[in-house]
Amino acid sequence: MMMKILTVCGLGQGTSLILKMNVEQVLGERGIQADVEHTDVSAASSMQADYIVTSNELSESLVGHNAKVFIVNNYFDMDEINQAIDENIVKDQ
C-alpha cells in the first residue's frame, strides 16, 4: 500500500499546503513514493496515516496518534526537511 503522509496546520488552508509542497518536492527528488495530504489538526486526529509532519506547536495535539509524528521548524529550509525525512521515513524503509 502507498505510504500516507499528512501535513498538518491549524486551519488546513495555508501553512500545511506549503509544507506539503516542499515535502513532496523532497520525496520526489529522492524517488520516494507517497500520498501526501494537507489538513487541519482536528481532522488529522481521526485520519489514518503512516506519518504526520507538523510544527512543534501543533505536535502536542497529535500525541497518541497512530502515525509517527515528526516536526519541521523551518518550512522553507529544504535541508531541514530532507534531514527530517531521512531520520523519520528513510530509516524505516
Binding site: G10, L11, Q13, G14, I18, S55, N56, N73, F76
Partner: protein, 146 residues
C-alpha cells in the same frame, strides 16, 4: 488573484504586537477590496485560538483565516516590520516579515502558495525582503523570480 502588488506591500511598518502586525497585513487586503473586514478579525482569532504555528520559518509569519471568513479574491499582502515582534513561536521568533494570505478555495490559492513558497525557499530572497527600503526593491526581487 493578487500577489504582492504595490498597494499590497508596505515596508518599515511600526507595530507593538503580533496582533497589530496581523491586522496591518489584513488591512492591506481589505483596503484593496480583496477581503471583508470580518476576515481581519478571523485572522486575529485564528492566532489566538491556534497559536503561532503560522510562523513557519525564522522571521516569517503567514497569518490567514478560512475562505468562508470573508475572502473575495485569492491574494497575498506583505508587511515588513521596522522592528521585529514576538509571536510566541518556540524556534522562529521574532517575526519581521508578515505575509497576509487571503485564502480561497480556488486553484488560484494553490498558484499563490506556489509563488510564495518558491520566493521564500530562497534564503537570499528572505534577506533582500528584510533589507528592502521601498517597493521598487521588492518589485526587483519578484521580477528575478519570474
Amino acid at each position: 488573484m493578487k500577489f504582492l502588488d504595490e498597494n499590497l506591500v508596505e515596508v518599515g511598518v511600526e507595530v507593538e504586537s503580533a496582533q497589530e502586525a496581523i491586522e496591518e497585513a489584513g488591512k492591506l487586503l481589505f483596503q484593496e477590496g480583496l477581503v471583508e473586514d470580518s476576515y481581519i478579525r478571523a485572522m486575529v482569532n485564528a492566532y489566538k485560538e491556534n497559536g503561532p504555528y503560522f510562523v513557519l520559518a525564522p522571521q516569517i509569519a503567514i497569518p490567514h483565516a478560512r475562505p468562508e471568513d470573508g475572502v473575495k479574491e485569492a491574494s497575498v499582502s506583505f508587511v515588513q516590520l521596522k522592528k521585529p515582534v514576538v509571536f510566541g513561536h518556540t524556534s522562529n521568533d521574532p517575526v519581521q516579515l508578515v505575509f497576509g494570505l487571503g485564502a480561497s478555495s480556488s486553484d488560484e490559492h494553490l498558484t499563490l502558495l506556489k509563488k510564495l513558497t518558491s520566493l521564500l525557499n530562497n534564503p537570499q530572497n528572505v534577506k533582500k525582503l528584510t533589507d528592502a527600503r521601498n517597493y521598487a526593491a521588492i518589485k526587483l526581487i519578484l521580477e528575478m523570480e519570474r
